[in-house]
């Protein structure tokens, strides 16, 4: 005697958070049942494996039907088929759009294309996230990207509005979209130490300061692309390292101010010109798409690695960067103070966030 058909439909749709988690994690029904058995639920409830199997199947079916709606969360709110309390709707959406740190680090900055999708097998093997879950997360990225790509207004705001995500998650998605759009390289070995949090932090600052939206809130793509004019202008900063006098003056200003305050003062003094050159050159090269993509690689190579090899403490890095950007204001010959600030304020915060092991 086998059950050919076995369903349970409630007027209020039953959502089991644990099963939802298992479903999101991409486990098959049988695996999920196995995991649930191991969780000790049978002992707690006195149920049988058959009951658990049937229950899991039911939930999986429900989730499968809900998935179509989860792709456009506002539909989930307005649909009439599943009666779900608002708090549960929010939970469903939030969990559905949540992603794994390991997975996001693999695809961050990659083009959200079919090609990448084909690589999901490898990513799955590498990260230990099931392929099913990888697909869901990848599709989420792609879906969000497609919807907000061409939209006006705040990126995170748009995402929040169209996908009803929490503030935190919406900002994370904004970072993902920003990275994917600008194709920043994040996969290099020397960048592996950076967490998604680090990169999302940088992305947020860059969105705030380096996009067209930073100066004009009414332009298209205001938050997704970098401000072309700004990047063009950044070339002007080159004078800071090209002009030897200016460079020396800058160095002496920084050194005077920091003498006795840094534990790594001699190393700083020795390295000042290299570091300054590195930072300014990164800025001046950002007109090239290729160099934009390598922004994080360059930051690590040109600034973070030298400092790290000299064992700068984080606090010294902070003092140095503060002084380094502030001293420019005392350079009389330098006319692009505003530009410098727009560049350096963001860069300083990014570097400080990225400066860890």
């Amino acid at each position: 005697m086998t059950n050919e058909l076995d369903i349970f439909v409630g007027n209020t749709t039953l959502i089991d958070e644990d099963v939802y988690r298992l479903w999101l994690d991409g486990y098959s029904v049988n695996d999920a049942v196995g995991l649930r058995v191991r969780s000790g639920i049978l002992e707690q409830t006195g149920a049988t494996a058959g009951v658990l199997q049937s229950d899991t199947m039911d939930h999986y079916r429900t989730f499968h039907m809900l998935e179509r709606l989860l792709h456009t969360p506002p539909k989930l709110l307005h649909q009439l088929v599943f009666q779900i309390p608002p708090s549960r709707q929010a939970l469903l959406i939030e969990r559905y759009y949540a992603f794994d740190e390991a997975f996001v680090r693999e695809v961050l900055g990659k083009k959200l294309s079919k090609g990448t999708k084909k690589d999901l097998d490898d990513i799955s093997t590498k990260t230990g996230v099931t392929l099913k879950s990888c697909r869901r997360q990848f599709d989420n990225f792609k879906r969000v990207f497609k919807v907000v790509e061409e939209m006006r207004g705040s990126l995170a705001g748009n995402i929040q509005q169209h996908f009803l995500l929490s503030d935190r998650l919406a900002r994370d998605y904004a970072a993902v979209v920003f990275f994917a759009n600008n194709r920043f390289e994040t996969g290099k070995k020397k960048l592996q130490y950076l967490t998604f949090g680090d990169l999302a932090f940088c992305a947020e600052l860059m969105i705030q300061n380096w996009t067209p939206g930073a100066v004009d809130s009414q332009v298209d793509d205001m938050d997704v692309d970098l401000d072309k004019e700004f990047l063009q202008d950044l070339k002007e900063l080159k004078v800071l390292v090209a002009d030897k006098d200016l460079l020396d003056l800058h160095k002496s200003l920084v050194c005077t101010a920091l003498r006795g305050k840094l534990s790594v003062f001699p190393e700083m003094e020795a390295n000042f010109k290299n570091l300054s050159r590195g930072l300014v050159n990164i800025a001046s090269k950002l007109t090239h798409t290729k160099d934009v993509r390598d922004l994080f690689v360059d930051l690590v190579e040109k600034f973070i690695e030298p400092c790290r090899s000299d064992r700068w403490p984080l606090n010294d890095v902070r003092l140095f960067l503060n002084q380094y950007s502030a001293s420019v204001h005392s350079l009389d010959g330098f006319r692009h103070q505003a530009l410098w600030d727009r560049y350096m304020v963001t860069l300083r915060s990014c570097l400080l966030r990225m400066y860890h092991d």
């Binding site: 058909l5 049988t48 039911d58 009439l80 088929v81």
Partner: protein, 1148 residues
């Protein structure tokens, strides 16, 4: 007279993509009513079109308004080819046709397609302007309200309960009559949906007409069913109870939202005269109407004319036409009762002296006369307090016949209600049921097929002119069965059947028609007596006197309904009677089975539980007549088996009564299935059930003996465990006081399960299981062994869970507001081809048990909770498939606030829903009953008992004279009855009494307790659904109309839709959604009395196809949380509700 229907199409949303190229849709809408169609403009390239159309106006007859659904079709415009249909919405506009319900239908409706399911939503506004006051000569019955609820709806009061209404409509099934037999799924499904919609509209209209004829204004307990008879057609039939309902708010202007049954109601000081009888002749004296209704001449003539009415009682009546001497012994201990009896005797002798009585206006006299008339009434209904003795019989019979008069005028004194206003139900006799096996092709009329062809595929045929045979046949079938039910009820000394329902099971051309109900004796007050209209008013009005009586003599009520309504010497079949354990004066049966809900005032001990009997019987595949014969032969045995199982399980639970009993017999190709569900309870009035004793066949075999004793121990343990689990701890009552008739030991031991007639097979056992009589299971073969095993395999629900199939769970009364209605469906394939009855039984048992276990597991987050109204249906869609469908509601309750159930019966009446207005319908009669019942022994009886009437022990003495019935005897009688294709299960009686005075303080406290959690989770836009007639923690403020929907869903891509489970899961979810959308559009926020009447599922996995038909119904309502109401009601002066109470007494 005509009405104007106005429809406006506002917008659409979430439409499907119909144009692949643009990923968009060019949608427009066709609005059709009758033969008129309007169209909106095409809204180009949008999935969220904003049509914002003009008002489309249809000028139509109200007859059409009732029959026709409004049909809205959404299409995709296509310039070059035919427009593609996206989907449809059918809107039943009936709720707009009576003034008190909804005034507008406005909201988002799912657009439904029978192939694709829900495809987006459409926003529609519908209004109706009716001019129906102009003409009373009509075919329509606009204005008659319909309720699925099987009790008096919460914001109404019953003025008169007229009785049974039924109707059926027949048509050919488009599925089978499709032109050229080429079936295009969508067209045929839609034709069917539309046809059934039309037929239900027509049916409702016709029933409405009958109600109007009876001068009623509503149908309560309306149950409409479809019989898909395949080739031979489609039958839509409905039954209901016609009533005259008064809206409570109309008489009492106290709560703005008509939530009349507010708490204050229960605090009404009943010693005041609430008087204002708004109707007719002002306050008539109780005397008047009483004397009227018992006018002896009338009753006698009736008696003589209807010879078969009442068993052998009729002849006996004659010698005692005056009967006064019986009551002339005023030796009763309680003084107040003496004079009433005296009074009665004079009244009886001078029965025509109405004026004389009405002259007794002084309060004292009035009071007495009232109690007299009460006695009369009681006696009339077979249960007079003094008439328990054999000499009382004739008098009882006489009066019973008199009260019957009101009912006898009706063809069928049936009531589909399962819960009643207090005082309506006097006694319950037991379950009566009838089944009949019919061959469908017998009525197949060749002429009918010829004409059918292609002339009209959808339009309803006028059967009366076209082919009168067809519905006549069906009518005759049902009439036959109802007649049987009626005669069974009479055999039980009852003149009415309550909790009545009908059902069918069809397989190929064989059809089993079933009807069942509970034989009962009713208080005639509510029943309009048609013949004597214009004479004296058959009603009572409130008089101060009544109430004072009620106050003086508060009695532990709630036992009255258990008292037997029949004469114990003329019992229809043997039964074991004892004196009532509550009042110790009347006889009660040892076990009571009923199809109704537990009366609100019944006193129970502990909690109730769901009890199911499950049974399969294989049968040979056969054709037509042979098949029908085989089935008819099997039926009695199945009935017997089912009954035995129920009885055993009841004993195993340590309980003594079943409520809400529903036995379903399903016929399949090669088997019959029986499934009985009921809620077991322990009624304090009935004797404590004995245990179950196992008897072995071969006592010499040592190991066998051991095995037996082992099983016996297990059974005893189970009983003890169950008693603990359900908190059944009845107070030990000393035997002498109870005076229970203990049979001779020898007799007792002869209780055998088997029907073996030879007494030498009887094993003498020590049956001293407690003091009570044990129920003996004789294990003589593997079958019996199997039965015992299966008894023990039923696992009790996990802790924190309770289940019942009645509206409320006896013993739980502190509901919190969380409810979860659900439907669960399982289809199992029987893998073994060499099936035996045993394996089949086991499979079926497992299927049901596992299903229950799954439910408990799924709903574990709601613990502590109770599954209420658990409704199982079984069908056999194919050879080896068993389909079980369950609909129920889980309700949470507060463990910590548990109120002691034993406190008062008033609280129990509250469980029902705080919103009950039943308390309003308070009757003087009951109060008087109490006063009489309070005398330990009624004087009349003592007199009859002559010398032996020394107060303490009459019962014990009587006991010896009772022919103690063995179970075997009972079984025999069973089989006999069953052979008549009907059986009578058990009997008992109901007398409903509510003590209003006691109610008030508790009510108040209870209300407060519950209101706190109630407010917790109210969310906007949520539509609650429940099979119950109430919503815990809330008051229903308005009934918006009946919801009755029929859907077909079909797929040709079963695998892609997730297989059969995915397909049906989605479909049921969609059905829920469509019900909710209709309720929301009516302005409601809940469906009560929701029922899924049909869920027919067919699959053909090889073709990747499946089809499902679902029929659901319920009452759309608006409810308000009690927490919100408290604020309003606090401002209401308590006294203001009094006018409403008086309304309960009004009769026209």
């Amino acid at each position: 007279m005509p009405g104007k229907l106005k429809v406006k199409i506002v917008a659409g949303r979430h439409l499907p993509v119909m144009d692949r190229a643009s990923d968009l849709t060019d949608a427009f809408v066709e609005v059709k009513f009758g033969n008129t169609t309007f169209k909106t403009d095409v809204y180009n390239k949008s999935l969220n079109p904003q049509w914002n159309s003009e008002w489309f106006k249809f000028e139509v007859d109200d007859e059409d308004l009732q029959d026709e659904p409004l049909q809205i079709t959404v299409l995709d415009h296509d310039t070059y080819s035919a427009n593609d249909a996206i989907g449809k919405v059918y809107i039943d506009i009936d709720p707009l046709l009576y003034s008190e319900a909804a005034t507008v239908i406005s909201g988002w409706f799912p657009i439904y397609d029978t192939i694709h399911g829900i495809r987006g939503e459409i926003n529609v506004v519908v209004k109706v302007d009716l001019f129906n006051d102009l003409n009373r000569f009509r075919q329509s019955s606009c204005g008659v309200k319909f309720f699925c609820t099987t009790s008096i709806p919460k914001c109404y009061q019953a003025v008169i309960i007229h009785g049974f209404v039924e109707e059926l409509v027949v048509n050919e099934d488009p599925e089978y009559q499709w032109i050229d037999r080429i079936r295009t799924p969508r067209a045929s499904n839609e034709a069917r949906q539309r046809l059934i919609s039309l037929m239900s509209g027509e049916l409702q209209r016709k029933i409405g007409l009958k109600v109007l004829e009876m001068r009623g204004n509503a149908v309560v307990g309306y149950l409409q069913c479809f019989d898909l008879e395949g080739e031979s057609g489609l039958v839509v039939r409905a039954i209901g109870t016609a009533c005259t309902l008064d809206k409570l708010s109309s008489t009492a202007a106290f709560l703005p939202a008509c939530n009349s049954p507010s708490k204050e109601m229960k605090e009404i000081p009943f010693n005041e005269d609430p008087n204002p009888n708004t109707h007719s002749s002002g306050p008539s004296t109780p005397l008047k109407n009483q004397t009227y209704s018992f006018s002896p001449s009338k009753s006698y003539s009736r008696q003589s004319s209807s010879s078969d009415t009442d068993l052998s009682l009729t002849p006996k009546t004659a010698p005692y036409p005056q009967g006064p001497r019986i009551f002339l012994c005023p030796s009763s201990p309680s003084l107040s009762s003496g004079s009433p009896h005296l009074k009665k005797s004079c009244l009886l002798s001078e029965s025509s002296l109405t004026p004389h009585h009405s002259s007794h206006i002084s309060p004292v006299v009035l009071r007495k006369s009232v109690s007299f008339s009460e006695e009369l009434l009681l006696a009339a209904s077979g249960m007079g307090s003094g008439s328990a003795g054999k000499e009382g019989g004739p008098f009882k019979a006489l009066l019973r016949q008199q009260t019957q008069s009101a009912l006898e005028q009706r063809e069928f004194p049936f009531f589909t209600l399962t819960a009643f206003p207090p005082g309506f139900l006097v006694h319950v006799g037991g379950v009566v049921s009838a089944r009949s096996v019919k061959l469908l092709d017998r009525i197949h009329n060749p002429a009918f097929v010829g004409i059918m062809g292609n002339t009209r595929s959808y339009k309803l045929l006028d059967w009366n002119s076209f082919n009168s045979d067809e519905p006549e046949t069906r009518d005759a079938w049902w009439a036959e069965i109802r007649q049987e039910i009626k005669s069974h009820a009479k055999a039980l000394g009852c003149h009415a059947v309550v909790g009545y329902s009908e059902s069918t099971s069809i397989c190929e051309e064989v059809c089993i028609l079933s009807a069942s109900g509970t034989a009962a004796v009713l208080n005639p007050r509510f029943l309009q007596d048609g013949t004597v209209e214009g004479c004296l008013e058959p009603r009572l009005s409130w008089q101060p006197g009544f109430f004072s009586i009620g106050q003086e003599e508060n009695l532990p009520a709630g036992c009255g309904f258990c008292h037997i309504p029949y004469d114990e010497l003329n019992m229809p079949f043997p039964a074991h009677l004892t004196y009532c354990y509550s009042c110790r004066k009347q006889k009660v049966p040892d076990v009571l089975f009923t199809t109704i809900d537990l009366p609100t005032d019944a006193t129970v001990i502990g909690k109730g539980c769901l009890i199911q009997a499950r049974l399969c019987r294989l049968k040979k595949k056969a054709q037509a007549e042979a098949n029908a014969t085989a089935i008819s032969n099997l039926l009695p045995f199945m009935e017997y088996e089912v009954h035995t199982q129920l009885m055993n399980k009841l004993k195993l639970k340590g309980m003594n009564a079943l409520f809400g009993l529903r036995i379903q017999i399903t016929v399949g190709e090669n088997m019959l299935m029986g499934l009985a569900s009921a809620t077991g309870v322990y009624l304090t009035a009935l004797p404590m059930p004995g245990g179950i004793q196992i008897a072995g066949k071969t006592p010499n075999d040592g190991s066998y003996e051991q095995h037996i004793s082992h099983m016996q121990k297990k059974i005893n343990d189970t009983i003890a465990k169950n008693k603990e689990l359900y908190e059944i701890n009845p107070p030990e009552i000393p035997e002498e006081i109870i005076g229970s008739p203990i049979p001779e030991p020898r007799q007792r031991s002869r209780l055998l399960r088997s029907q073996s007639e030879s007494s030498d097979e009887v094993i003498e056992l020590d049956l001293s299981h407690g003091k009570k009589d044990a129920f003996v299971l004789e294990i003589d073969d593997t079958d019996a062994m199997e039965d015992v095993h299966s008894l023990l395999t039923d696992v009790p629900p996990p802790s924190g869970f309770y289940s019942c199939n009645t509206e409320i769970m006896p013993g739980i009364n502190n509901w919190t507001s969380e409810i979860q209605m659900f439907t669960s469906v399982r289809v199992s394939r029987l893998s073994n081809i060499n099936l035996t009855n045993q394996t089949l039984n086991k499979n079926f048992n497992d299927l049901c048990e596992n299903l229950l276990k799954s439910l408990y597991f799924k709903l574990r987050s709601m613990i502590p909770c109770c599954l209420c109204h658990v409704n199982f249906t079984v069908s056999l869609p194919e050879d080896e498939l068993i389909q079980v469908t369950v609909t129920a509601v889980a309700i949470t309750f507060d463990k910590h606030q548990a109120v002691q159930t034993t406190k008062t019966h008033v609280e129990k009446s509250l469980q029902r829903a705080s919103t009950d207005n039943e308390e309003l319908l308070q009757f003087p009669l009951e109060l008087c009953t109490d006063s009489l019942a309070s005398h330990p022994f009624s004087p009349a009886k003592e007199h009859l008992e002559s010398a032996s009437s020394n107060s303490g022990i009459p019962a014990a003495q009587r006991a010896t004279s009772i022919d103690y019935s063995s179970f075997a005897d009972r079984c025999n009688s069973w089989i006999e009855l069953i052979k008549l294709k009907a059986q009578t299960i058990r009997r008992g009686s109901i007398k409903t009494t509510v003590s209003v005075e006691k109610a008030s303080p508790l009510t108040e406290g209870h209300f407060r307790q519950r209101s706190a959690p109630a407010c917790a989770n109210s969310t906007v836009g949520v539509v609650k659904m429940t099979p119950l007639s109430f919503i815990p923690g809330a008051k229903i403020t308005k009934y918006l109309g009946i919801i009755n929907m029929f859907f077909i869903r079909e797929t040709t891509s079963l695998r892609e839709e997730g297989g059969v489970s995915g397909f049906l899961h989605a479909f049921i979810a969609e059905v829920f959604a469509m019900v909710r959308a209709h309720v929301a559009a009516l302005g409601g926020n809940a469906v009560v009395s929701y029922i899924m009447k049909q869920c027919v599922f067919m699959e053909n996995p090889n073709k990747n196809q499946a089809q499902c038909l679902i029929n659901v119904s319920g009452d759309a309502v608006i409810f308000v949380r009690e927490s919100e109401l408290e604020i309003i009601s606090a401002q209401q002066p308590v006294a203001s509700c009094q006018p409403a109470c008086s309304g309960g007494e009004i009769a026209t």
